[in-house]
């Protein structure tokens, strides 16, 4: 177990190195930050001095190792655009993204499980087929289009919900939350639906498939034969066995919710890390881009690692044999 753990962690760290290297090699193609930092009356001399000052005159490998060296000391540098520590900016933006991810994750989980059970139990029913078809409409439209349509309908035409931002936020111990104000809660609705719809469909389909598999199992048949009530079979036996893979997949999906938040945050001007990243690309704010990509990678690799370790702990035979159950 120990040897496996160490090996797995070493591999994860290596993965992070590679990710960083790829990311840094890309930065040069995004553009030149110096042009955005100086006004139209700047001279070539000004440009070169600033490039040198930022270390941009160095090859990207050198820039990368400088970044790693600093990052190892917990210092992600200063944002070109805002002139303050990137870590501070990320911490400031993180609550917005995490709250959005949490609400849409919960919505996806609750809605997905409920609809999944419904469609599994009434597999041949009309209602279930309608739900299945509707759910496909949700995944057949790009997220950004769903967001824009929701804004058009609920903000512009009906005027019920805010069109952008987080509304009024309250600061509780360094964490800004939108949960405590009416406008904050209202502001969460449209972005959460936009972000959660896709995951909800995924979970619904997963629950349905798992339920259908479980319902065919021998022990369920025995339970039926023993005359247990249908409801009790469905919920006490079938659902319980369904939930394990569902929770695993949801955990794995958490990362992709945060990543997909990029698009939702752009459409709704949601002040989270995703919007920060998109703005950083436009402005070629290399320190912010680097820190964001590293953060996301650490998160994904971490989730992967934990899941692997859990599987290993539960059943060594299953080691590394977790195939994606999403489809």
């Amino acid at each position: 177990m120990l040897a496996y753990t160490i090996r797995r962690i070493a591999q994860s760290i290596f993965v992070l190195f590679v990710v960083g290297l790829v990311a840094f090699s890309m930065f040069r193609f995004v553009g030149d930050p110096v042009d955005n930092m100086l006004g139209q009356e700047r001279t070539q001399e000004d440009v070169e001095r600033l490039r040198e000052q930022l270390g941009l005159d160095q090859p990207f490998i050198v820039q990368y190792f400088r970044f790693l060296e600093q990052a190892a000391q917990g210092n992600f540098g200063l944002s070109y655009r805002q002139g303050r520590p990137v870590a501070e900016i990320l911490l400031e933006r993180a609550p917005a993204t995490l709250e959005l991810a949490f609400v849409s994750g919960m919505m996806a989980l609750a809605g997905g499980i409920a609809l999944g059970i419904f469609t599994a139990i009434r597999r041949r029913g009309f209602g279930a087929n309608v739900v299945m078809t509707l759910s496909l409409i949700g995944v057949s439209l790009p997220t950004f289009l769903i967001g824009i349509l929701l804004i058009y309908l609920f903000s512009v035409e009906l005027g019920w919900l805010p069109s952008f931002g987080r509304g009024e936020v309250v600061e509780v111990g360094g964490w800004t939350t939108g949960f405590l104000t009416a406008s904050g809660l209202k502001a969460l609705i449209l972005p959460s639906i936009t972000l959660g719809l896709y995951q909800m469909t995924l979970i619904m389909r997963l629950v349905r498939t798992e339920m259908l598999e479980v319902l065919r199992m021998d022990y369920i048949r025995f339970a039926r034969a023993r005359g247990l009530r249908e409801k009790s079979i469905n919920f006490r036996h079938a659902l319980k066995n369904t939930l394990v893979p569902v929770i695993t997949i949801t955990g794995l999906q958490l990362g992709s919710i945060i990543a997909f938040a990029i698009i939702t945050e752009t459409v709704f001007q949601w002040p989270g890390v995703g919007l920060l990243f998109i703005n950083a690309i436009q402005f070629v704010d290399i320190p912010v881009m680097a820190a964001y990509l590293m953060l996301i990678s650490v998160m994904f690799v971490g989730i992967n690692l934990i899941v692997d370790m859990l599987y290993f702990a539960i059943d060594p035979r299953l080691r590394a044999d977790r195939t994606s159950g999403g489809h």
């Binding site: 057949s140 439209l141 990543a259």
Partner: protein, 319 residues
């Protein structure tokens, strides 16, 4: 640009013919009993055909700038333009391009990108999955860790990274033509992991089966075991994933175009058309967004419905 819309059938692999026949007749039987699948298939066929035959069907050639008249811009559908008197069935966009023709040509690009990207992802994923599952050891570790790296970034980010690098190293004069190939590469490379994981999982299961052990004992080469014994058994899930991936790839192309890293506006795909159209959503020119969006929805939805049906139909346990 030819459309290769032949579905990935197991034809190149000599699967046991009895199995194959049963498989097909079963599928056909299930198809006949699923009106949704039939309608979806019909829609897909119509859309694909009209995309392939776009040069014959489309009243205008939106990719030829010399034929455009800017004064035709923003003509509403079914009305004659106030200045030129020209008539357009679905209206025109900001450049005076016929929306109907542009959708047909745009769909051609979207479908081509989608098919090619899925093909790339599938070939890559199946090969790597087979190798990882069958050989194990270091090969497996490397392939699956690369898959981890890939999963580390969400598909859309991977695609953006690849797009960024490819655009950076392409000379500017080729960028217009390159954009489509870069999209294919970006989407294809961001999507192979799913195939690899499923194939590897199935390979691990099949590997321990008696018949594979037997084949090994009689000295069959690993290549022949992989191709003749393992591959046919993983084709069903691969086919299902490929269908759903096709819809996902078309949507990914649209999303990339929305983020401004997709097909250029001079040769727009459906996604580019939607990006252009959404700028005019509030100003009253709804048709520039509406028709491409509906086309995209119809295309993706019917492919998804087909994939859905296929998944159920190919999973005997669920029948």
């Amino acid at each position: 640009m030819t459309q290769t819309e032949t579905p990935p059938t197991p034809a190149p692999v000599k699967a046991p013919s009895r199995l194959s026949r049963a498989w097909h007749s079963d599928l056909a039987w299930s198809f006949r009993r699923a009106p949704v699948a039939m309608i979806s298939a019909f829609v897909v066929i119509v859309l694909v055909l009209s995309a392939v035959l776009a040069p014959l069907i489309a009243p205008h050639d939106p990719f030829n700038p010399a034929t455009l008249n800017l004064m035709n811009g923003f003509t509403p559908p079914g009305e004659a333009n106030a200045f030129t008197g020209d008539f357009f069935f679905l209206g025109t966009d900001d450049q005076g391009r016929d929306v109907f023709s542009t959708i047909l040509y745009g769909m051609r690009i979207s479908l081509f990108v989608g098919f090619a990207a899925v093909m790339l992802a599938m070939v890559l994923g199946v090969i790597l999955g087979l190798l990882a599952g069958y050989l194990g050891g270091w090969t497996e570790t490397i392939i699956m860790r690369v898959a981890d790296v890939q999963l580390t970034f969400p598909a859309i980010l991977v695609a953006m990274l690849i797009f960024g690098i490819a655009k950076g190293i392409t000379p500017p004069e080729y960028r217009d033509q390159m954009a489509i190939w870069v999209l294919i590469l970006a989407i294809g490379l961001s999507d192979w992991v799913q195939f690899a994981r499923v194939v590897r999982g199935a390979t691990l299961v099949e590997k321990s089966r008696e018949y594979v052990q037997a084949a090994k004992l009689i000295g069959r080469s690993p290549l022949s075991i992989m191709l003749r014994h393992i591959l046919p058994n993983v084709l069903n899930p691969v086919l299902v994933i490929a269908t759903i991936s096709l819809a996902l790839a078309i949507i990914a192309e649209a999303t990339l175009s929305f983020l401004g890293v997709g097909a250029p506006p001079t040769k727009p795909s459906l996604g580019t058309l939607i990006r252009i159209g959404q700028e005019f959503m509030f100003s009253g020119e709804w048709w520039i967004l509406f028709f491409p969006a509906v086309t995209l929805l119809a295309l993706a939805l019917s492919i998804n419905l087909l994939g859905d049906w296929l998944r159920d139909a190919l999973n005997p346990k669920l029948r």
